[in-house]
Symmetry: C2
Subunit: 246 residues, 2 copies
């Protein structure tokens, strides 16, 4: 048996996230279908993370064991023959037997795109949050720096009823807010992310952009360990899993 | 009666072009519906050009006469309440009574986007031609310069059976081929365009990128006045009406 790591990109607009669900199309289901066409079997595949409906991925990693002999470098083009147009395999390689796309992950980087233009842009519908009020990205960037380092991110997590007693400490390694024309992009790298963590951080940063809170309020919101002290959960369409580190 | 000029942007992926057609959704039909919601009447609207199925517009102009008193600067947001997400009104202004979106047009600029990456990109599906062989954009740019100036573009036109005897002379004012990472963009400005002219020019430029013809062959292809001497018609998804000049 070999263990293979495949990297894909996907436009999540019409999917209910990565995870297979009943009565909803998922990226995992599409990938499994394409893989079974190529290798003639349906192995147990491991995705690097759950992603919500409407969230995108510039890089998403999947690992699985198989006895099939296809050379890894031929696998992306073979998969792309069967994947829908909004999902593309971009890389494949053989990895150690104990590699696991989720558990071997050392960190991830997400980006969140905001279209800060007065008028909506048809080409960004579903691909960026449209936020028409003028954003002060330097205030957002100043606020963002308070997230750096190891913190208990309970205030920035939608509680998952199935795992109330988890460890809510995560280490944010890089975070920045940059503008390029109308597009304001929030970039966050951490060793791991709690459920909705990026979207709640972005919603809170937008509060600073509107002057509802000051950048210097962030440490107290983190220390409160209380979801109700943070800003709203930003909508999914601006969120992209951008890089996965092993 | 007032004469109003509205500028829109649209993602043409799911439309059969601008023009109303039976049994197919068009941008014109969507715009007319939204306009009638806002002004309570259905005036005769004039679009700046026909566009083919799947072609996009960063700027598309429409004019119409109405007796309605809505201030022009409120019209874009009012229209956007009723337009689908893939069409957006971005400007509106009162114009002279004899202004006509098509006949008053002094020139247009189109861009054509080519994704020159080995792997396809889900986010560019329908928004750029995927051309995986490495493109020599400097050869394309050298070839492009031969189109500058006033020429009979019969070789670069799909003959419209309804108007075989038209004037096929057009003046190309600017043309360039530039690369930004994987994206190669062809930009063409002219006083007017024949049917499929940009797409046939792009198809011919791609012949030079592949070495099938030399940049110096372009003048003879123009002089031949023969569609069969030029390259193929590039597909619609890379084409954007980018600017309209009055």
């Amino acid at each position: 048996m070999r263990n293979i790591l495949v990297t894909i990109m996907y436009d999540g607009k019409r999917y209910h996230g990565w995870q297979v669900q009943e009565n909803a199309d998922s990226v995992q289901e599409q990938f499994q279908k394409a893989l079974s066409e190529v290798i003639g079997e349906r192995p147990d595949i491991k995705g690097c993370s759950r992603t919500d409906a409407g969230v995108h991925a510039n890089m998403y990693c999947i690992s699985f064991h198989t006895g099939h002999s296809i050379p890894a470098d031929r696998l992306p083009l073979a998969l792309n023959r069967f994947l829908p147009a909004d999902i593309a395999a971009i890389d494949a390689r053989d990895v150690d037997d104990d590699f696991h796309a989720r558990y071997s992950c050392l960190g991830k980087e997400y980006i969140y795109k905001i279209n800060n233009a007065r008028m909506r842009n048809p080409f960004l519908e579903g691909y960026a949050l449209h936020y028409w009020q003028k954003i002060d990205e330097s205030a957002m960037n100043e606020a963002a720096k308070h997230f750096l380092g190891r913190h208990d991110f309970t205030s920035f997590c939608t509680i998952d009823p199935h795992r109330k007693k988890g460890d809510f400490h995560r280490t944010v390694k890089n975070i920045s807010v940059k503008r390029d024309g109308d597009i304001v992009t929030v970039t966050i790298e951490a060793d791991g992310f709690l459920y909705n963590m990026v979207r709640i951080i972005v919603g809170t940063l937008l509060y600073t952009a509107q002057g509802k809170i000051s950048p210097s309020d962030i440490p107290a919101i983190i220390d409160a360990l209380d979801r109700s002290k943070a800003g709203p959960t930003a909508p999914p369409e601006g969120l992209y899993l951008n890089r996965v580190f092993y």
